[in-house]
Symmetry: C2
């Protein structure tokens, strides 16, 4: 028999004080005698009273410019991808640690982001984090108008007034090229996402540019969709032809592992004896002993910490100017590049 929950009025009655007093007892800066507060909190504890966050949010709408809900909206694409799952895990932890709740919305494509944000905004989220996607120009405006700070994770800040945190994709691509060149490779293939994927574009650009400095061009370019299977399929195309690459730079570890498995299983190729392979991200399975994938690591703990810091600061003080940060990737030398093992 569900019954309505205990309110501050009930506690007030039981404690012999006014409802205002109860409210103040639960507000950090409340003007209330310490003795009274103790008494109220004790009674409230006995009764199992917890302030209603929804009502609190309504109430603050009166004096604040915007009502605060204490919730942060998080929009994520490809949640099943281990890289993003891990990212979410960190965001969740960091947000919670600062007392924010996470309203999670997962979408499949960029197109759904606007709808997701609309749904989230009905809940009066205090800020929003978008993973590997951007907002439409319109929604960016709406957020700005409403004073909702936006954090783009893994994307360039699309607009004035929007914050972002991401890895140095261009430099990461350069590093990969550098390593492969240094190992003496010349038939270097690239595997990335589609031609309109911003992440791929940057990584490929850095990669191609660095190759160019040595007078080389990518040996071949294959497209995938950041899934293991698409990596495997890329490998199938790459190694089925007469002319095989002597090395591959792959814009994501998941796809790189697809290539690695395919090479071993479908073509009985040894790595790095038959070809070198370098990935991007440094997901945990890249370090598994039978993989030992050489890759560019994203310092995601620091990146996410920074993203949460930037966002929470702006939720507390909407006047702060937007901020964007880029982190350098770190080369993790393992065993998939010829002659270049761990130091």
């Amino acid at each position: 028999m569900p019954k309505r929950s205990i309110t501050s009025y009930h506690v007030a009655t039981a404690a012999g004080v006014s409802q205002s007093a109860v409210s103040r007892a639960f507000s950090p800066g409340g003007s209330i005698a310490e003795k009274t507060r103790k008494h109220i909190l004790s009674i409230a504890g006995e009764m199992g009273y917890q302030p209603n966050a929804i009502a609190r949010s309504m109430s603050t709408a009166r004096t604040d410019v915007r009502q605060k809900s204490g919730m942060v909206g998080v929009i994520v694409t490809r949640l099943q991808d281990p890289f993003f799952a891990n990212t979410i895990a960190h965001f969740s932890r960091d947000l919670q640690a600062k007392g924010w709740q996470m309203l999670l919305f997962s979408v499949d494509t960029q197109n759904e982001v606007d709808d997701a944000l609309n749904s989230l905004m009905q809940f009066k989220i205090d800020g929003v984090i978008v993973l590997s996607a951007i907002l439409s120009e319109h929604m960016a405006q709406v957020c700005k108008a409403q004073g909702i700070p936006v954090m783009l994770y893994n994307r360039d800040p699309q607009d004035e007034g929007i914050c972002s945190v991401q890895i140095e994709n261009f430099e990461g691509g350069q590093i990969a090229a550098e390593v492969l060149l240094e190992a003496g490779h010349e038939q270097i293939a690239f595997v990335g996402g589609g031609p309109s994927d911003p992440t791929t574009i940057e990584r490929e650009r850095g990669f191609v540019e660095r190759l160019g400095e040595s007078g080389l061009k990518p040996f071949r370019r294959e497209t995938g969709d950041y899934t293991f299977d698409s990596g495997r399929e890329a490998a199938l195309r790459l190694f089925s032809r007469r002319e095989r690459p002597d090395s591959v730079f792959c814009a994501s570890d998941v796809m790189a592992l697809g290539i690695l498995h395919s090479a071993r299983h479908d073509f009985s190729l040894e790595i790095p004896e038959d070809f070198s392979l370098i990935g991007f991200d440094d997901i945990s399975s890249a370090a598994w002993p039978d993989h030992l994938l050489t890759t560019i690591r994203q310092p995601i703990r620091r990146m996410i910490g920074e993203a949460v810091d930037i966002l929470t600061e702006r939720m507390d003080d909407p006047e702060l100017p937007p901020k964007s940060t880029r982190f350098p990737g770190a080369l993790i030398l393992r065993n998939t590049v010829r002659g270049m093992g761990p130091k």
Copy 2:
């Protein structure tokens, strides 16, 4: 310059109707002329008005027994684990498809579950899903008293009034034993979680019981914590001794892959030539061509679909009796059990 958002009053004024009319225009069953509704919706659209879910929730607290927030709390342990990440992805999708928002809270240990639920309840969630953990007796009572349906995913229903969805762990253990026995193994080791982990207990029980029917006992038992590294360490202990098992049943794929990688890398063992290995869950990397792990599959799409159905039905109608469902695991024969390849 953040400004307060548009309310139903603004729309009402602009449309030349009362606030009630606007509210009704946005309420599916509202008593309002179709013509008026169209007009209001059109004006609202132009103004970019969206009903405030928080205020709506406050309002419904008046007539309903409990206020409805439209949010489901999800408490998850070990979010970084690919199995759970994937589970969350599905929950998110299914919940969204039915119009529910997901308030996600990740915890590290069972101890934190109560606190998490308390935080979530302040937001007046309409239901809660707990992954691989249970509630304290006290919180279970509180939820019951408040009429908040609880769905335990991956756990036995701990209490009257609580719903659950899980895999048949006991039978899964039996199947694993069956397969290994059939393959002619006799030195069969078990690797699972700690002795108080309910999942491990059941799987191990089924496994041991089936071995017993053939007059066998587990060759050895190693403990891990469901991480890849703990699987690897278990393998280190298992294969460093003179007497090696001829096969291993591992209560989770992640740990099983730790064993597989360790066996190949640390001991140069071939699978299934040198020993057989069988996992549990069927995570996606179990199917990677250079793994091809034989395992017991959890039909998680169906399981999660069922969990969401059960929960949403009860959020809509709190009078429904609790329901618990168990799904059978399916043996997926790949290449890690001697003589038993895919059919």
